[in-house]
């Protein structure tokens, strides 16, 4: 038994030399129990639903060092939810964040109304849509971002589904070594199987009704469904309310 153990240890050492210490590791109970640091979504009910599966009284939210996918149709609140996560990220002193905007639809005015500090938000608008994923990878690898939002569908070129899958898997590996919360905002029609696989958290957001006050739209109500949560309970449905009157407020902020 001991000779087999020594042989295995030698193989592991060789593999670690060749592929890095992260390539092969012994599972550690204490590491698994350590709570994952999170960024608040500003929706208190959602934060509570996303609280760590192991409890310990930690406040929940979007996990750092993990990939989160937010799926929802247009004007369902994806950008608002992501913006509120950036606000939480910016609470740290000198924290920087990035917004990948391959579709060039990012509205700095709206982000500002949500409370995002634009001076600390890098907005990335690549000329080629296919460059976006690669740029995201490089930015995350720099270990300088607290959060990164990828808004819009992505691909790495025509007819290269395999490349996209490979890039997403590499992204997941790189993100795991950082403290960056990575959020992908997707329409239901542009979901990617590999992204669903590598994401730690998947949220489906939908709008139910507009909040109208004196004939003015003052916000809307909707709900968030936790489709997948590797760190806690999945399948939870959380009602949310977004109101705007100059500034955009989330229920619970």
């Amino acid at each position: 038994m001991s000779s087999r153990y020594r042989k295995l240890e030698a193989v592991v050492n060789r593999l670690q030399l060749q592929h890095g210490v992260h390539a092969i590791r012994r599972a550690s109970i204490s590491e698994a129990e350590a709570p994952t640091p999170c960024l608040s979504t500003a929706f208190s009910a959602l934060d509570a639903a996303l609280a760590d599966a192991h409890g310990k009284g930690e406040k929940g939210g979007v996990p750092r060092g993990r990939i989160t996918e937010i799926v929802g149709p247009a004007t369902s609140g994806k950008v608002t939810l992501a913006a509120k996560v950036l606000v939480a990220a910016h609470r740290e002193r000198n924290a920087l964040a990035a917004w990948l905007d391959p579709s060039r639809t990012c509205d700095p005015d709206y982000l500002h109304r949500c409370g995002v500090d634009l001076d600390r938000l890098l907005i990335v608008r690549p000329e080629e849509r296919s460059d976006a994923l690669l740029i995201a990878l490089h930015l995350i690898e720099s270990h300088t971002l607290s959060a990164l939002v990828f808004d819009g569908c992505f691909d790495t070129g025509e007819g290269s589904a395999g490349e996209t899958t490979g890039a997403l898997e590499r992204l997941a590996t790189v993100v795991a070594r950082t403290m960056t919360a990575v959020l992908f905002l997707n329409e239901p029609t542009t979901q990617h199987q590999t992204l669903a696989h590598v994401a730690t958290l998947r949220l489906a957001i939908s709008r139910e009704r507009w909040l109208i006050q004196q004939e003015d739209v003052r916000g809307y109500e909707g709900h968030v469904t936790v489709l997948k949560n590797k760190l806690g309970r999945a399948g939870v449905v959380v009602p949310i309310r977004i109101t705007f009157n100059g500034t955009v407020r989330a229920d619970g902020l």
């Binding site: 924290a95 700095p108 005015d109 500002h112 001076d119 460059d131 690898e141 300088t144």
Partner: protein, 417 residues
């Protein structure tokens, strides 16, 4: 050829110095002078430190130094001063070449100075000083080397370098001495190429691929290999092209567009050799067979399309059309010389400016000074910008928050840490 010597004589901030000598009531405020095309022609040290550079538009200059005095250069006797400056230069050598306002190259061969190199330099500088200016002089084996040495020397100083030591001297100087276009200099900055020595050591094929023929020429200069002769004004080259119209043209816009196409073809090889055009001559053959000449002289030689277009417009406006259409036009670029040496502020290596990419002067845009986060991200972005383009990475700022159109409320700037 090894003993060939070229001197570069210049008066720092020549235009501003002359204007201050002639002008009253300018006080101590920074001074910016414009040419007749509305571009910055000359600046004084204070305006230069604030980021104003020659060739900028009035808008760009105002954004960088709003407290400056902005005036037209034509108000001051700058051209008379330039003539007086060149008058002194030609007394010391037969072969001399103007290189912009208050700048000239002198061929030191055949000046009969013998071994009295130092006394020759001293008497040349003394004559210029007698006119009330404080010149600087650099001398070595090539024009580019002499211009760099002269600029490093500074006012009232002469630096003489044996040609053999030229390459090692250039190696430590900033790469911004090269007359590359702002985009190329930005790329070099992103690639971490700061000195002429680093640029000289880059693989030749890579430089040619990324920066073209002009980049390769610049690399030769950085290596101390610049064999351009000193070309006196009377030997300056001319290039010309003829444009004939199947049906005589009366539409001035179409005429200008046709001339610009010819101008582009003529200017491209000049730009690659870092040469510039001193004057435009148009010879218009009207439909009634009469030949009408018209011309335009630039305040500073240029090879940029913008000023050339304005020059062509001015020349066309001077043609006596008398209601006749044009049957053909011969476009001649004369006074071809080296592009003027750009005066740099060596202490503040500001990013090169683009045509109309204004940086909005807004202190709120400054990122918090931090530490490793910002610096680390900046290093990453420098690398990424070289690959994906600097316009890809931006910081937004709400400069017009009350605009009715949401997309017009924000403006963009690059991430500069």
């Amino acid at each position: 050829m090894a003993n060939h010597q070229v001197a570069y004589l210049w008066v720092p901030h020549f235009g501003a110095v002359v204007a201050r000598q002639a002008g009253h009531g300018l006080g101590r405020r920074p001074l910016v002078l414009f040419d007749e095309q509305g571009r910055v022609l000359a600046v004084d040290p204070e305006a230069l430190r604030a980021g104003v550079a020659e060739g900028m538009t009035e808008h760009q200059a105002t954004a960088r130094c709003p407290q400056a005095v902005f005036q037209a250069a034509s108000r001051y006797p700058i051209w008379e001063a330039q003539t007086a400056f060149l008058g002194q230069v030609r007394r010391f050598t037969d072969r001399w070449q103007p290189a912009g306002l208050g700048n000239a190259y002198l061929d030191m061969d055949g000046t009969g100075m013998g071994n009295g190199l130092l006394s020759w330099c001293q008497s040349l500088a003394g004559e210029v000083r007698r006119l009330g200016w404080e010149p600087a002089l650099g001398a070595t084996g090539s024009k580019f080397g002499a211009s760099v040495i002269g600029q490093v020397a500074g006012e009232n100083t002469a630096l003489l370098l044996v040609p053999q030591a030229q390459r090692s001297f250039l190696a430590t100087q900033p790469v911004t001495f090269l007359p590359l276009d702002p985009d190329a200099l930005t790329q070099l900055r992103y690639l971490g190429i700061r000195t002429l020595g680093q640029f000289a050591r880059l693989p030749a094929a890579g430089v040619l691929t990324r920066f073209g023929t002009a980049g390769r020429t610049a690399q030769h200069w950085a290596q101390g290999l610049d064999d351009r002769p000193v070309v006196p004004p009377w030997e300056a080259l001319e290039v010309s092209a003829q444009v004939e119209f199947e049906t005589p043209l009366t539409d001035r816009e179409r005429l200008l567009a046709a001339l610009m196409r010819s101008a582009e073809r003529l200017l491209t090889p000049l730009s690659e050799r870092f040469q510039a055009v001193g004057r435009i001559t148009l010879t218009v053959t009207r439909a009634d067979r009469r030949i009408i000449p018209a011309g335009y002289t630039f305040s500073q030689p240029t090879a940029a399309l913008g000023p050339v277009r304005l020059g062509l417009e001015a020349a066309l406006a001077r043609v006596a059309w008398e209601g006749q259409p044009a049957a053909s036009v011969t476009l001649t670029f004369g006074g071809i010389s080296d592009a003027p040496v750009r005066q740099l502020t060596l202490l503040d290596p500001a990013a090169p400016f683009g045509e109309e990419t204004d940086v909005i002067a807004d202190s709120r845009l400054q990122l918090p000074s931090s530490p490793s986060g910002v610096q680390g991200l900046k290093a990453t972005l420098d690398r990424l910008a070289a690959r994906f383009g600097s316009e890809t990475f931006r910081i937004a700022s709400l400069t017009d928050p009350d605009n009715l159109l949401p997309e017009r409320r924000a403006s963009w700037r690059s991430f500069d840490g």
